[in-house]
Amino acid sequence: MSLLDVKNLCVDFNTDQGTVHAVRDISFTVGESESVGIVGESGSGKSVSMYAVMGLLASNGAIRGGSISYGGEEITETAFANHKAYEARMSRLRGNEMSMIFQDPMTFLNPVLKIGSQITEVIRNHNKVSDAEARARAITLMGQVGIPSPERRLNQYPHEFSGGMRQRIIIAIALANHPRLVIADEPTTALDVTIQAQVLDVIKEMKEKLSSSVIMITHDLGVVASFCDRIIIMYGGKIVETGSAREIFYEPKHPYTAGLLKCVHNPEKKEKLTPIAGSPPDLLMPPAGCPFVDRCPDAMKICKLKMPEMEQYSKTHQSACWLSEAARRKGEQHG
């Protein structure tokens, strides 16, 4: 059985312009100790879907449909008697069973609280420990994520740390209680290139030690290649393809995935990233058909009208694109 099982998840936001349909009917699973990468360009719904899992959506956002189960337990809010019961359960899980590493280390730490208290908070939330014990654990953790002289730095404030160090602190907070599921939301995007690799190594090392499952959100296919067993490709609030790292890199089925792979920086050719031309669909009025249709080099008439079904290529490999159907028809005609 998988650790996390998300079915038909839909997330909407209320805004002054109207309802933003940020995540539209996505389903995926994450196995025990598995690393899953979520890739997709900005605004494709990667963060929103993970915030929904953690129950951390902004106040104008809500889950409009679908279900989320964790370790076999349904943790969708609708499965609880009321909001209070949901929050009570989720606050036992958050930071303990499942935790999150965030995108921007500069804004996610509280500027007016000492680092020490921000780390001990998560320890004390879930363990009956004394002040001294919590501090000792925090010091050990800081050492583990590579923060030098933790005893001294415990009493400092976030602004006294560099971006890379702050991200290590956030990692320490996320991993403090040895969670079974860690969601890392572009943990290196905001960091200098040299620091990126270091921070990634810290996550990798901790993951191996704790054998947690990791969901790694990123724009960077290189990161996924080195980190993930399985990859989910998102576009316009939908999952358009998912497969093992091998399948995605060597047998991409969806034109968007293929486009992304072409974008990957090739050091030999020395060419810059060539992003796919065009812009993502307006999520205030998402298209009825395939969200990629306006930018797809292979678009057909049907693509605009109807959303393609997920097609199974192997036990792990799925993609939603009309091309496969078209190819089959052709095959039938010939055969």
């Binding site: 915030y51 953690m54 951390l56 902004a58 106040s59 929050e87 989720m90 606050s91 036992r92 899980l93 958050r94 930071g95 303990n96 935790s99 999150m100 965030f102 921007d104 804004t107 996610f108 730490l109 509280n110 500027p111 007016v112 609280l113 908070e121 998560v122 939330n125 879930h126 404030y157 602004h159 956030i170 907070i173 996320a174």
Partner: protein
């Protein structure tokens, strides 16, 4: 920290000195004199004797040096208008009334303002949030004296629920304190509301929730300190202002404080009184600013004192 306070106090004393100097010369430049209103009746001989008595016949520079010398020793002279009554006496008689009313108003303003602002920030009932906004707008736009007159008429004269002459009992404080605090309450309520809403949107609140901290504690531990920063910045000078009293309120409610003195001393060209009150109010505001800055730095570690 101590070094910083000493530095700020030194700067404060210099500021005060400059303020006193400018006020001194400015008030002599303005036409009119303490005896202007009575010149028609007073014979020239008498006038001359009066000028001599208060040292007003001497050159301005000499008067200035004399005043400053005395002021440094804590002697602010005698009121010209009040026929020689000691300034220190007048102020020390009136200040306790003004300060007590001021303190009550400050507490009332802070408690009510923060409470209303918090309610408005978190309530799911739109009308409640709007109500606070309307109240706040009224407080900013309605002249204080109008409200005070209305309160006095309604609760004092018509309903006769509350006393409105003097400050004898705790009940006597209610009407004037409401009048004094109304505008600050509306400012604080608005500040707290917008500041809390802003803080609730911050990323560090999400991280706090992701640790499994219950929502109430997230707000209490992570939100409040951050939300209070703009409030403190406003409240410091506000407290100084409330402590110096109000001409309108003290006249309306017959309070023997010093709130009215500033205005009357200027119209009467009561030179010594003007000087003493300028120095008093000036020091209030300077001290309030120092305390505000220190409090801000205590709460927000990113603020470095003395930089």
């Amino acid at each position: 920290m101590l070094k910083y306070i000493i530095k700020r106090l030194t700067v404060g004393v210099v500021t005060l000195f400059l303020l006193a100097t400018i006020t001194f010369f400015l008030m002599h430049v303005i036409p009119g004199s303490p005896f202007a209103g009575e010149t028609t009746k007073l014979p020239v001989k008498v006038l001359e004797r009066l000028y001599e008595k208060y040292g007003l016949d001497k050159p301005l520079s000499e008067q200035y040096i004399m005043y400053m010398k005395n002021a440094v020793r804590g002697d602010f002279g005698v009121s010209i208008y009040r026929k020689g009554k000691s300034i220190t006496k007048i102020i020390s008689n009136g200040l306790p009334y003004t300060a007590r009313l001021g303190l009550v108003s400050v507490c009332f303003a802070l408690v009510t303002g923060i409470f209303l602002g918090t309610v408005a920030a978190f309530t799911k009932r739109k009308w409640l949030s709007n109500f606070v906004l309307i109240l706040a707008t009224a407080g900013v736009s309605m002249p204080g004296f109008l409200l005070s007159v209305l309160l006095l008429l309604l609760f004092g004269v018509v309903l006769q629920w509350l006393p409105f002459v003097g400050l004898e009992s705790p009940l006597h404080y209610i009407l004037p304190a409401v009048g004094m605090a109304f505008a600050p309450i509306s400012m604080i309520a608005r500040l707290v509301r917008s500041s809390l809403r802003e803080v609730m949107k911050q990323d560090y609140m999400i991280l706090a929730r992701s640790k499994g901290t219950p929502e109430k504690l997230v707000i209490w531990r992570h939100g409040l300190k951050n939300a209070m920063l703009p409030v403190i910045t406003y409240a410091g000078p506000m407290i100084a202002t409330l402590l110096t009293g109000s001409f309108v309120i003290e006249s309306l409610y017959s309070i023997p404080g010093i709130g009215a003195e500033f205005v009357t001393s200027i119209t009467n060209r009561d030179y010594t009184m003007i000087m003493a009150l300028t120095i008093l109010y000036g020091s209030f505001i300077i001290i309030a600013n120092i305390i505000t800055d220190i409090l801000n730095a205590v709460i927000d570690p990113r603020i470095k004192l003395g930089k």
